[in-house]
Structure formats: structure tokens, C-alpha cells
């Protein structure tokens, strides 16, 4: 039997939802009929609006999809202004204040506390400035990701930006592809560093060379295009890397192949069980070969090429070793200017800082900024002679191009602050962890990157399985009382041979986690082989040895959020009980 969600989607989904959304916004939140709330909240996701968790009734998270993380000149300012004006709610975050933007692991932007009545004004402002929330959530083509500095990166094999733009134009608001069985996450990468993280997406295009002649037959000159992988994803304790389906495509045919695979997913994906719906499960069932055959026979009208020669051996992004594990710092652009990656701790930036950064990007660069999959921001097009002054700007003390490895390596998801699925508090906790580790833990002198990713549940929005240290929300009892806890995984990473973290230690009370990481690092420093990376060190130990290295311990780190933060209406409120929850916002 199709699920209720499928039924709702078949009745109304996609473009048409916008009109109804505006009607509800006009008439007020209460105008949504009582017995249609579930249905409308599900449909609103297609327009980037996700109802915040219980206790925050009537407030929405709004996601703005920025393809490849590209914010054209002026757009960051618009985001800052919208955050400043509309992303204010009844709760104030003790670290980030009361208006902020989140840069996400899929190169998008999330705002919180959005009221329905403000949505038309926000959409109008976004539209005027070339921004959109369309398909940012829901069962469809999500924000397309890639190497954020596509088109500029000195290390680029092929410029993926025109390809991404074309895909975005083709598949946003495309009736044939607007209602898929589940989310559809696409990555297109043109650089040799692996920074598009294709391996953990539903569909990945990765740079590859293929010898083809003028008629497309094999044996001609080497041409740059893309190899295709399908069925990656991290969620629900079922992580998968995308599988190689032995297809190479030239850039001009990417939309045909992408549309073919999205069509295949639309028609063959499981619409009866949402837990089994992601394409990774279809690839499990069919195998890569059958995916290829079906694509060839039913969805494209030209002969597919077999896979070309990839550049995976050069991948370093999130790889746990080698150069350029992230895009922080000053790097060369093709055109002789520079891009400067700035660390945004856990991806969150106050609205005032967003506006300041927009000013700096205009003053020193072209006004453009780009977002990475490590929740950081990159200012592009900075000429050599402006570099020195830019790096001395006070804002860069906080958003540093040269941060402590513990700040630089931190990624965290939304967690109990706003998210329904969460088990524990996340962003503020990761900030506290990073600050404590910076003061109290040590890395060997030759190690300058160390990634700690914290996800509040198994959905894995913070991509914990591809970090040096993976933290995932759990509970435990401490002295008999229930407390928030974290499972600890080690040694995950992408690169030529990606590997998921191994979950070696379960249910560590949150206040013992920083001590556990410090102890682990001490053992690493003592026992590593000369020049050995943390990932390699983990790889040559078994789970039991690693569990012993983790060694949880109370320290002077104090965690103010040990209790069930989900039982609050807002974890940081003075009167935080669910019975103190603010009323649904009135229409104004």
C-alpha cells in the first residue's frame, strides 16, 4: 500500500504547493485545516520549509538551496538581511545570539524560527535576488553539490559549474522529476581533490578521461568527462558509498544520463516503504550492472560509454591524510587571484557577521562567496595585492583562514535545538568540545587536520562516518540518571579508497567525551609510526584495541546539557519545559 506521504504527493506536490502556501500565509497559520496539517507540512518541504520540532509549533526551518554553494555577488548580503529580519524567534541561543544562518554539509543555508506569515515576503526577496528554496527539502532533486570553487580552482580537471547550472535549471521545477520516491542528492565534481564528495550522494559525476574519436567510438583522443556512480548515502545505520556503474559521459550528455537515472529512480524506487526508498537500496537489490542495463535500455537513446580513467588516486578532501583535506586558507585560482577559505565553526554565523562578511567580500574580492561541504565559507577572487589587508580584518580572527585543528575539523548538525529526529544537543556542544580540545588536547606537530563530526541521530546530517572521530547521539545512565551520550566511531574518510568509521565505543556520557578524545590523541601520539596519519593508525588496530584507546574520562569540561534536551521547548530557555512553550505565532 502506498504511504500517506505518497498519497499526499499524488494529490498536490511541486510547483502548485507554492500557491496554497501563500494562501495559508495570508490567512494565517490557523487557516490550515486541522486534519490537513500533516499533509501540508509534508508538502511545504518541497518549498524548503520544514516544521521545527514539537514545542516550536508554527515555526519553520527554511532551507535556501545554493547550487554548488555558489553565492553570486550581493546574494550573501540578502541572506544576512533575511536572517536579521526574519530568523528571530522566542528562543535565544547563548553562543550564537538570536539571528543567524547555518551553512550546511550540502552547501545550502538554513534559517530558523521562520513564521509562515513572513514566507511570501521572504520568497519575494529571494526571487528578486536569484535565490530560491525550491526543492531544498522533500522528495526530489535536492541542492546539487560539488567542489565549491568550480571554475576557479587551480587544481581543476574540468569546470563543473556550467554542468551544475544546467542540471539545476533542467531539474528544478521539472514536472517529470518533481515527485520522486525520496530525496535525490546529486554531486558533480570537476576537480581532482574529491571535494564534491560524490561517494556519499545518490548520484555522482566524477572527473574522468576517456579516449573517444569524433563519432564517440573508442580509441580516439583523451577527452575529459565524468564517470558515474549511483547509490551513496549515510543515513539510518545503512551507510553506502556510491557504486560504479561503469559509465563515462561527456559534459554535454550529463543532463541526459542524470535525467535517465532520476527517471529510473522515480519509476523503480520503493514508494511503499520510505525506509527502503533511497536509491542506495535499489542498487543493493539490483546490483550496478542491472542499473546500467536498465538505464541503457529504457532511459537513454544513445550508446553509453564504459567508465573512463578517473583521478581518484588524487582525492584528498576529507581523506584523513595528504594535502587539502578541506578548503580552508589561501589557495590559487586559475586566473591568478586567490580564494580564501574561512572556518565557520559548526557552520553557524550570526546575521551581523554575515553582513560584515558580505562587505568584506565586496571590498577585497568580487563580492562572491562560496560554501563548502565542511560548513565553511570561501571568499573568492581576492587579488594578491589585497590579500594582506584582507587577512588582517578583525572578522577573520573569528572566522579564521588558519584555525586550530579542533576548530577547523568541527562539523555538527542541527540536533535537539530544532530537529524532530534528534537524540542530543549538537551545535553548541561541538563548539564547547572544540574550545576545550583546543586548550587541553594535543596533536603531533606534523598533524594539522583532525576532523570531529557530531550528528544528533543516525540520519547522519553531519556526515559522521567520514571523519577521524565520529560522534552520534545516544543516551546512557550515569549514576542511575539518564544523560545524553555519544557513540564514538574512528577512522572514517573519503579519498581514493573511502571507508566508514568503525563504531568502537558506545554510549559515552557527553561530559566524558572531550576527555576520551584527549586520551585517544595521547595514545596516538605515543604509539604512531613515524609520520603516520590518524586514519592509518586506526586502520591497523582492531576494535577492541581502539575501544581501549578511547578511555572516557571526566575532566574540567562541564556540559550544561546533560539532561533530555528534547523534553524542553528550547534547550537554552530559562523556563525550558514543554509546558512553557511559546504559543503558535500570531499572524501579523
Amino acid at each position: 500500500m502506498p504511504t500517506d506521504v505518497e498519497k499526499w504527493k499524488s494529490e498536490a506536490y511541486g510547483e502548485e504547493v507554492r500557491e496554497r502556501l501563500f494562501e495559508f500565509a495570508e490567512a494565517g497559520f490557523d487557516s490550515i485545516p486541522d486534519d490537513e496539517r500533516d499533509a501540508w507540512f509534508e508538502r511545504f518541504k518541497w518549498w524548503g520549509l520544514y516544521h521545527q520540532r514539537n514545542g516550536q509549533e508554527g515555526y519553520f526551518m527554511m532551507r535556501i538551496g545554493t547550487p554548488n554553494g555558489v553565492l553570486e555577488p550581493g546574494q550573501l548580503r540578502v541572506v544576512g538581511e533575511i536572517a536579521d529580519e526574519y530568523a528571530r524567534g522566542p528562543g535565544r541561543n547563548p553562543i550564537f545570539g538570536d539571528a543567524y544562518a547555518d551553512f550546511t554539509t550540502r552547501q545550502s543555508i538554513q534559517l530558523h524560527w521562520i513564521e509562515l506569515s513572513d514566507v511570501p515576503a521572504i520568497f519575494e526577496k529571494l526571487d528578486e535576488n536569484g535565490l530560491s528554496t525550491q526543492q531544498a527539502c522533500g522528495d526530489s532533486w535536492r541542492n546539487i553539490v560539488g567542489n565549491p570553487v568550480a571554475g576557479k580552482d587551480g587544481q581543476e580537471v574540468i569546470d563543473a559549474w556550467p554542468v551544475i547550472r544546467e542540471l539545476n535549471e533542467t531539474f528544478k521545477g521539472n514536472e517529470d522529476h518533481e515527485n520522486l520516491p525520496r530525496k535525490w542528492k546529486v554531486s558533480v565534481t570537476g576537480s581532482a581533490d574529491g571535494s564534491g564528495q560524490g561517494d556519499i550522494n545518490d548520484l555522482a559525476f566524477e572527473p574522468a578521461y576517456k579516449a573517444v574519436d569524433g563519432d564517440g567510438a573508442a580509441g580516439g583522443e583523451d577527452v575529459v568527462g565524468f564517470n558515474v556512480r549511483v547509490g551513496g548515502g549515510l543515513a539510518r545505520n545503512e551507510p553506502r558509498f556510491a557504486r560504479d556503474i561503469d559509465v563515462w559521459v561527456p559534459p554535454e550528455r550529463v543532463p541526459d544520463v542524470a535525467g535517465g537515472l532520476s527517471g529510473l529512480f522515480r519509476d523503480y524506487g520503493d514508494r511503499e516503504d520510505r525506509y527502503n526508498a533511497r536509491v542506495k537500496f535499489l542498487v543493493d537489490e539490483w546490483g550496478a550492472e542491472e542499473v546500467r542495463e536498465t538505464l541503457q535500455e529504457e532511459y537513454v537513446d544513445f550508446e553509453l560509454e564504459s567508465a573512463g580513467r578517473d583521478v581518484r588516486e588524487e582525492y584528498t578532501y576529507n581523506a584523513g591524510e595528504g594535502e587539502r583535506n578541506d578548503l580552508i586558507g589561501v589557495h590559487d585560482q586559475k586566473d591568478g587571484t586567490n580564494f580564501v577559505g574561512l572556518n565557520v565553526l559548526v557552520g553557524r554565523m550570526g546575521a551581523a557577521d554575515v553582513l560584515d562578511l558580505a562587505d568584506l567580500a565586496e571590498e577585497y574580492g568580487s563580492g562572491e562567496v562560496r560554501l563548502s561541504q565542511r560548513q565553511n565559507v570561501i571568499v573568492t577572487d581576492v587579488p594578491d595585492d589585497a590579500l594582506e589587508d584582507f587577512l588582517e580584518e578583525p572578522l577573520l580572527e573569528h572566522y579564521s583562514p588558519d584555525p586550530s585543528p579542533f576548530m577547523r575539523g568541527s562539523v555538527a548538525c542541527t540536533g535537539t535545538e530544532f530537529c524532530s529526529l534528534s537524540i542530543v544537543e549538537t551545535k553548541n556542544r561541538q563548539v564547547r568540545f572544540a574550545r576545550w580540545l583546543k586548550e587541553n588536547a594535543e596533536l603531533p606537530a606534523d598533524v594539522d587536520e583532525f576532523h570531529v563530526h557530531l550528528s544528533g541521530c543516525t540520519a547522519s546530517c553531519a556526515q559522521p562516518q567520514i571523519a577521524d572521530v565520529s560522534l552520534r547521539g545516544m543516551k546512557t545512565r550515569k549514576d542511575g540518571d539518564p544523560v545524553e551520550a555519544l557513540d564514538v566511531g574512528l577512522g572514517g574518510g573519503l579519498g581514493e579508497d573511502p571507508g566508514f568509521a568503525r563504531w568502537v565505543t558506545q554510549r559515552v556520557p557527553v561530559d566524558e567525551v572531550p576527555g576520551a578524545i584527549a586520551n585517544l590523541l595521547e595514545t596516538f601520539a605515543d604509539r604512531r609510526e613515524e609520520g603516520e596519519s590518524f586514519r592509518a593508525f586506526v586502520a591497523r588496530h582492531d576494535d577492541e584495541e581502539l575501544d581501549a584507546f578511547v578511555d572516557p574520562e571526566e575532566t574540567d569540561y562541564e556540559d550544561p546539557m546533560m539532561h533530555n534536551t528534547k523534553r524542553t521547548w528550547y534547550p537554552y530557555a530559562e523556563d525550558d519545559g514543554l509546558e512553557d512553550a511559546p504559543p503558535t505565532p500570531a499572524d501579523d
Partner: protein, 102 residues
């Protein structure tokens, strides 16, 4: 009138008549010998799988983990509350929950 029961947002909560009633991240005490070896499982509720009704009793199957022994899996049907006069009344969360035995 029939009661509308749904698992929504990827198993994050149980909707009863379009209202959010039962949520993940709670700890439940279970008398569920099929789930793990503990006398009473101490279950972290991570994902709702299914919701149903048995008479007036609302029941769910959940994915979770017993934090006493580490066992993970999907439980049998567990009662979470009752529909009384058209309204949902949640059972006391600190009480032991028993799987249906028929």
C-alpha cells in the same frame, strides 16, 4: 470518527489526528524478553517504524537500543496510550511497557 495515526518525518514522531503526540529520544522501560536478555530493557527510542490501534489502545513498533546491554533492533508492538473520547492520552512514560502477547 476514525483516528488518523501516522509515522512521520522519517520516524521522528507519531502523529495522532494531525497532532504530534509521541516522540523519539525518550527512554522507555520494557518488559520485552524477545528484544534483549535484560529483565527490563532500557530502550532509547530512535525511530518509529509503525503505528496501529488495538481496540482503543495505540501501539507502536520502534527501532531502538537497550542501553543496559547494547542490543539494537525493532521491538514488537508496544502500547503508548489510549484514545479516550476521541482524545489521545499518553501512558505514563516512566511505567514499564509490555509487548503484546497473544
Amino acid at each position: 470518527m476514525t483516528t488518523r495515526l501516522r509515522v512521520l518525518d522519517d520516524g521522528a514522531w507519531i502523529s495522532i489526528d494531525d497532532g504530534r503526540e509521541v516522540r523519539v529520544s525518550e527512554l522507555w522501560r520494557l518488559d520485552a524478553p524477545d528484544f534483549c536478555g535484560c529483565d527490563l530493557a532500557d530502550l532509547v527510542v530512535e525511530n518509529f517504524q509503525e503505528v496501529g490501534v488495538d481496540g482503543s489502545r495505540v501501539e507502536v513498533r520502534v527501532y531502538g537500543q537497550c542501553i543496559a546491554c547494547g542490543e539494537t533492533g525493532i521491538t514488537d508492538w508496544l502500547p503508548v496510550g489510549r484514545i479516550r473520547g476521541g482524545e489521545f492520552v499518553e501512558f505514563d512514560r516512566s511505567c514499564v511497557r509490555r509487548t503484546r502477547r497473544d
